[in-house]
Structures are given as C-alpha cells and as structure tokens.
Amino acid sequence: MASAVTSSAPVLELRSVTQRFGGLTAVKDLSMTIAPGALYGVIGPNGAGKTTVFNLLTGVYDPTEGEIWLRGTRIDGRAPHEICRLGIARTFQNIRLFADMTVLENVMAARHLRSRQRLTDALIGTRRHQTEEREMRDRAMALLRMFDLERHAEERSTALPYGSQRRLEIARALATDPILLLLDEPAAGMNPQEATDLMDLIRRVRDEFHLTVVLVEHNMKVVMGICETVQVIDYGEVIAVGTPEDIQRNPDVIRAYLGAG
C-alpha cells in the first residue's frame, strides 16, 4: 500500500519556505513533501515554528520567501478562506470555537463555503434555501454522530468539556470537505484515555474521508503511534525526517529535545 501511495503526485509541497517576524526567523528554508493519504507528523520543541508552518499553509501569513503548492496549485499569498475552499482545513492549538453558537451551528457554519445560495434565496426563503438548510443540518448532524457529540448538538460550544471541544473543532474542519487536514496539538489537555481514543479517531477520519493528515503534537505516544512519517523541526529548520522508529533513534533529535550537550 505504501508504495502505491507514495508513487502519486504530492498533495502538499513546501519549497524552501522562510518566515521572518522582524528579526526573528520562525521558519527557515523549510521544504516538505506530503503524499496523498499520508498521516504526517511534525514535532519539535516549544517555539520551533510548528504553528507558524500551519499559519503559512492556511494563508494566515504570506511566506517571506518560498512557495507552497497544493495538488499543483500555488497557494501562498492567497486569503485563508480561499485556501480553505481549495481544500485545507485546520484546527487551532488554542481552540477557536464560535463561542456564542451551538455545537451544531459551529459545524453547520463550516458548510457555508459549499453553499450555492444567493443572498436573495435567503431573503425570500426559496426552495433552494430550504433544501440546502436541511442538507447542511443533516451533514452536520452526521459529523456530530461520528464524533460522539450528537447529544450536545444544541448546547453552547464552549460549555463542552475540553476534550469534546477539541473533537468538535475537528468535526468543524471536516465539514468544509478538505483534502488536507491540519491538526495543531489535538491531544493537548486530553487525559490518556481520550488521547488513545483520539488516535483511533484520526486514523478513522483519514480512512473514511480519504484525507491527508498533518499532525503537530507534543504527545509522543500519539505521534509515534499513528504517523507514518515524522518531521522534526527546531528553530524553524528541519533536523530530521523519517519513520517514527528512525526519529526516536536519531541523535540530532534527542539533542534538540534534551538541550545542546
């Protein structure tokens, strides 16, 4: 299976991407190639630049240098909502749910980008408005069911326990019909049982939605347990790429984590 997957064109390609914030180089000459269907891990110490990579991929920042390609389309410099439309969805390290909306509304809102309604459909309440509203609700409910959040559908999103909020953010991201899903520390704040369940969930999501997943995570049990490839960055630079087994034996990686000796 692995060979069949890796032989096709990459879903995502970063070519020598650099991001500077004033004098600070948060990402330096970073290249990355991710094959369709991969479960790709990105790890590194605090402040290594992992979240910045996600922000570059989703258009929050325009890279100072370099190019980003999604399935043959150059995406750097585009607005975040356009990039989402092209197929990249994400979650946030510091959960960003829509606090004043219900769990269901959070997911339904993420169907808006696939809506074919015009403003006038909503104003007059046309048939298209009504059928689409029903479709959105059904799709959102199906996702909530898959994430075991169905019974909380009408609750306020931020009233959910922490682990459920993380899962809701993944459900919301999936509602946009992505081809690439970026998860920024989805296991943070979860207890060991929740983290184990999360591993199964991520695998299931990848298989059922035929997605490519990039996972940033500090919980090594999760990363090493589900990723096929792991990339390690430190001070914005790649220090190693390989299978989880390779990475755990790599002396550079151990040095980066344990501090220069």
Partner: protein, 374 residues
C-alpha cells in the same frame, strides 16, 4: 412556509396596515387619534427600522458602526430631494398629483428606492475600505463619515442647508412607516436565520476561525453593512417626509447614531425583538419623562441617563439578551425548545483550556512506547 402561504400573509399584513392607516389618518366614526400620540407612534415605527437595521451590523455581525445617522441622512435627503424636484413629474405620467393618495404612494416608492440605493452605495463606499481591516477602524471611519455628510448637507442650498429640508412634501404616512418597519424586520430576520446569518455570527465570534472555515469575512461584512445602510436610508426617507418633521443636519449628528446604538443595547444586542423593544421604549421614555421638566428644567435628561445607567448595572446584556421574544416564553421552562446557546445557563459552565504537556517528558514517554512496539 410555502409560496402561497407567504402571499397570503403578505396580503393580510397589507390589508391590516391599510385599515389601520385609514383610522390613523382619518379617524373612525367619532374617534380621532390624538395628534401627539400619533406622532409618537410614527417615530416608534421609524426608530424600529433604524434599530433593527443597525442590529444587523452591530449586533449580528459584531462590527461597531457609529454612522447610522449618516446613512439615514443620505437616504433621507436623496429620497426627499427626489419627491420635491421630480415627484410632480413622475406622478404626472400617471395623471395624478404628488399630494393625492395614489400619487403620494407612487412618489413614496420612488423616494424609498432612491434613498435606499443612495444609502446602500454610501455604505459600500465606507465599508469596503474600512471593513477589510480588523479592529476599530469601522467605528472611526463611520464617525467621520457622519460628520462629513452633515457638513456637505449644510452647504447645499437646494436642500435647505442649515435651516433643514423644509420644502419636503409630507407624503409619509402610517402605512409606509410600518410597512417598512415590517419589511426591515423580515429582511434582517431572514438573513440572520440563514447560512449568511450564521456566517456573520462566526465573524462576530472569531474572524480568524471564520476565515479558516472558508468564510470570506470582508465580503460578508460589507454585504451586511450595505444592507444595514440601505435600510437606514429608508428610515431617513420616511422621516424627512413626515408632516412638519423636516430633515435637519443638526439632528442627524453622531448623537442620533448613539441614540440608535442605545436602543439595541437596551433591547439586547443581536436580538431583533430586543431592537424593536429598545426602539419603542426609548421613543416613549423621553415623552413620559417630559413631566419632570415642568418641576425642574433639565431633570428629564438626568432621569433618562440615570435609567440607562441602572439598566447597564442590573441587566448589562439588555432586556432580552441575545434571545428573541416569542410564544415559547409561555411554555413550561424545562420543555421550552430554546437552544441552550440562547439561554443564560450556558454562561457558567465554560471550561478553561489545560496547559499542553511538557514536550521533553512527552518524548521520554513516547520513547518507551516506541521501544515496546518495535
């Protein structure tokens, strides 16, 4: 609702409005409405249009505009201008006069459409540059816009300049005021209850997350702002052509904008019924308090301010909060179908994020796990 039902409702509403208009303007048998009450009711209707439309941008989309009086002025002056200078010509094509019942209605339609378009275009001109930016730019730009419009009007003699647009022809009546108030409520309600409304709510809650789920935040904000401005223009055209109520630049300054903001804050930001309630209360309140001025001149405004301050202390979320008033209020509380999101119960249970684990110890744990697997 099906199309036939909608038509039936529209027809019924129009018939009721026309009937009430007849009583309002010409009395019923011996009954004649007190002109003072009539004026208060008319102002309530116009203020409902203003408050509900402002609520779309300030409440639903969460963008702070202080320029509603400016858009009201643009729509009002353009609408009134159309009637004064072209009303006779337009109604002449139909063989009627501007002051006839039929001619007045024709002129009113032209005036309302013209006012709405002018204010909507002004909304685009103000919104496109300022809504691209995050932060308080909209508040600053709309404030400036309102003052610029005022100064421009002061310098146009054909609309009366500082004396006000006293040439206006009084074609506004009860029917048009409340037809437009209802239309505004329907437009804002349908938008809010649709996928566009949800998109606006995501922008209010978190713009970064909204963009991340593919919502073009600038487009949505500009759209909501233009609709809101156009409806303020409608309110302006109604107000300017009300009998003995000429538009005056002095009354259309930022104090008027603040007044409308207070209406929606009082009613509950984001709630349509709240805006209606706020507009009604704040139109009546100064009239009720008028008695105080006879005891001690100026006491009225002191009471007014005091009531607002007390309100903000004891009910900062407004009278209705984000909720809508409706029949479900009469049901048994536990069985009500109000989503939890819209009740206050949800406020207390928010969980705070736990800190992420220390990466160094996490790698150690991962090492063991990896070894045992390998």
């Amino acid at each position: 609702m099906r199309a036939t039902q909608k038509l039936a409702w529209t027809a019924a509403t129009l018939v009721v409005l026309l009937g009430l208009n007849q009583i309002f303007e010409h009395g019923f048998g011996d009954f004649q409405i007190n002109p003072y009450y009539a004026r208060v009711i008319e102002l309530i209707g116009i203020n409902i249009t203003l408050a509900v439309s402002l609520n779309l941008i300030n409440g639903v989309a969460g963008q702070f505009s202080i320029g509603h009086a400016g858009f009201m002025a643009v729509g009002g002056y353009v609408g009134t201008y159309l009637t004064v200078y072209y009303g006779a010509a337009v109604t002449g094509w139909f063989g009627v006069g501007v002051t006839d019942a039929v001619g007045g209605s024709i002129a009113m339609v032209v005036s309302l459409i013209g006012g709405a378009i002018a204010a909507g275009v002004a909304g685009l001109a103000v919104g496109i540059p300022s809504l691209r930016l995050k932060g308080d730019y909209l508040a600053i730009v709309t404030l400036g816009f309102g003052e610029i419009i005022r100064v421009i009007i002061l310098n146009i003699p054909s609309v009366g300049g500082a004396t006000g647009f006293t040439d206006a022809i009084p074609i506004t009546n009860f029917f048009w005021i409340f037809a437009m108030a209802i239309l505004t409520i329907v437009i804002v309600r349908n938008l809010t209850a649709s996928t566009f409304g949800r998109a606006l709510a995501t922008i209010r809650d978190d713009e970064v997350a909204a963009e991340a789920i593919g919502i073009g935040t600038t487009w949505h904000k500009v759209m909501a702002f233009a609709v809101s401005a156009a409806l303020a223009g409608v309110a302006g055209a109604l107000s300017g052509q009300l009998f003995a109520n000429p538009l005056n630049p002095q009354n259309l300054n930022f104090v008027k904008s603040i007044e409308v903001i207070i209406m929606i804050v009082l009613g509950g930001v984001g709630s349509i019924t709240g805006a209606v309630l706020g507009a009604t209360t704040l139109t009546i309140l100064p009239e009720v308090l008028r008695g105080f001025d006879q005891e001690f001149p100026g006491l009225r405004m002191v009471m007014y301010a005091l009531l607002l301050i007390l309100m903000m202390i004891f009910r900062p979320q407004g009278l209705l909060g984000r909720r809508e008033f409706g029949w479900h209020w009469l049901r048994w509380p536990n069985r009500s179908r109000i989503p939890v999101a819209l009740t206050e119960a949800g406020d207390t249970k928010a969980h705070t994020p736990a800190p992420p684990g220390d990466p160094r110890s996490a790698l150690g744990e991962g090492d063991e796990e990896g070894d045992s697997r390998g």
